[in-house]
Assembly symmetry: C2
Homo-oligomer: 330 residues x 2
DNA sequence: ACGGATGATGAAAACGTTTACGTTCCGCGC
DNA sequence: GCGCGGAACGTAAACGTTTTCATCATCCGT
């Protein structure tokens, strides 16, 4: 249409030079007039690049994943990359299938797979594909990884509760095979141990749902001596615990303090507002994506920073009773 | 490796028949042993299918988009389709770029673009690509569309407030150029008009943020005569309004009822729990994806159902004072 | 035993790009 | 005037599949 070969069109549209400014202009004009859009499959067939990264997530439920995706998307679009999301991988085989299917479709992989162990990853992760593990308990030299400082956050929370006079702190854990839970629990135990109260540790088994928090709080109430603080491994369980205590007529924080983990948006709106540990989730996603982007651009980079930890932050509100000015919304 | 041609490999792996069961088995075995994964770009170069659908969203912030994506993902994975998300399209030009870039990359498009008008869509939407518009005010014959019944939901809410004795209901609107806002406002006016109270309509201008709800509620308090109900166009503004009333020492719902729209997860946890209109957002995403899937499979289908409306549901909690048993969490 | 139908398999084209390599043309220095 | 270098552009190969068509073997009916 512009009386040039396809080669010149390619050169003109990609700005690779080798064409006169005038012909380039002409080609561009014709291209927009014809609404020409390059066929990305053909392009990536030869360039071996898809300009897409894949995010493998266990689920899409709740504020956590929403924020994570937002952070990833933010960093991805800054680099001009597309985002392919794949979720709801209940078990390992399903995740393996998704992993295989992503292969060849993406330039890099962001994997958050709580149930993946090292063997699974070795088996299913393509070696050639740059990969960043998010909150994985796998410590592999072969893949980059980003973690939330669950341990530190939980430890600080316990220290705070102890400092404000609580003596008997019970911990409501989440699903058994979960890296975050393990780390938070470890932080809880370490916090107690550091104060010489290691033998007072009590861990109740929840599953991250509000309902399990409700149940476990009821159990905690039945204990003797009764605890004076409940530290839940996530905010939803803490909220469930608040309901349980409200139903039982137990005053929070006067009789029992309740704290959570994550600082989901809802945490500040419940009554009383929830003391919790803020995890900058979007930041985690962004950092992971940035890391992946760098790996894609410089594959030779000999993993100078194999493991990065995203810090957490104690957010004190009214539910722990430590601050009388907590709970403000504005 | 299996002593067969590439053609047989293709046939064996795709199960197209034309190969002996024995050779198929042999080929499959070799394939898994070699960890062979078909190059999707090459495949879609010839099949003209990418097995991917693109979702164009204005933003990724908040529970709404989280749920929407979840619904879309659910329906997409049920059909074996991948999901390419693209967000944060502040203005039309950015959306146009994203739209173009998606072209050739996806088999279908899910577009939620509040600021897109018919001209924009005609200009930028590829005619060949099946497209479903979500909550768009554009009524085009050329594209399928799915809407939330904002109008009906708002009308029902007003009727409920009137039925429970409220006389002066003010409405806090959202961003000016927003289809949902327009429809909700229309429902509000219609609800009042149907009761012969059309002239009592008062619309305050918010912007969907909690902070704007706070400000507008303050304004409402200053009005004379003072309203006895505040109906916000979304839950976040209603929550802001609750804060404002709490700060002003106004009792909810005794003195003023407050209601929202969306039924975000947080709505039931605020104090008092918020009466609102539930929008089954995940269902909306699922329905949109299903529709798109059908369009992709049967392109000849002459759009028998050009416009689908997803129904809404009144959720009565304590903040409107109409139900003394509202606010239960379990 | 032979022709033809059937079914498995291979050869090769096609998809739409990018890019290495030629070719042409122009200007310049000798 | 002639050769030469370089810029602009075209030619064609390559990417890895799918699919059409041809080929070949096998089996069946006569």
């Amino acid at each position: 249409m512009a009386n040039v070969s396809v080669a010149s069109v390619s050169r003109a549209l990609n700005g690779h030079g080798g064409v006169t400014a005038e012909t380039q202009k002409r080609i561009r004009e014709v291209a927009t007039r014809l609404r020409y859009v390059p066929h990305s499959a053909a392009r990536s067939l030869i360039t071996r690049r898809t300009q897409t990264i894949g995010a493998l997530l266990p689920d899409l439920h709740g504020a956590f994943f929403s924020e994570l995706i937002r952070g990833i998307d933010l960093a991805a679009r800054a680099r001009g990359l597309y985002l392919l999301v794949s979720s709801s991988h209940g078990d390992a085989t399903e995740a393996a299938i998704a992993l295989r299917a992503m292969q060849g479709r993406v330039d890099g992989l962001l994997v958050m797979s709580p149930h993946a162990d090292a063997a699974f990853l070795d088996e299913n992760l393509p070696i050639v594909l740059p990969t960043v593990l998010i909150n994985s308990h796998v410590r592999s030299e072969r893949h980059a990884a980003l973690d939330v400082d669950d341990f530190g956050g939980a430890k600080v929370m316990v220290e705070h509760l102890l400092a404000s006079g609580r003596k008997r702190i019970v911990f409501i854990a989440g699903p058994a095979v979960n890296h975050d839970v393990e780390e938070r629990c470890r932080g809880y135990r370490e916090g107690l141990a550091a104060a010489g109260l290691g033998d007072t540790a009590v861990v109740l088994q929840g599953d991250f749902t509000e309902e399990s928090g409700y149940r476990m709080a009821k159990e905690a109430l039945a204990m003797s001596p009764r605890p004076d603080a409940i530290f839940a491994a996530n905010d939803m369980m803490a909220i469930g615990a608040l309901s349980a205590l409200a139903d039982a007529g137990v005053r929070v924080p006067d009789e029992i303090a309740v704290t959570g983990f994550d600082d989901i948006p809802m945490a500040r709106y419940v009554t009383p507002p929830l003391t919790t540990v803020r995890v900058r989730i979007a930041e985690l996603g962004e950092a992971a994506m940035d890391r992946l982007g760098r790996m894609i651009e410089a594959p030779e980079d000999a993993a100078p920073e194999p493991r990065v930890v995203v810090s957490t932050e104690l957010v004190v509100r009214a539910s722990c009773g430590a601050s009388d000015k907590a709970g403000r919304r504005h």
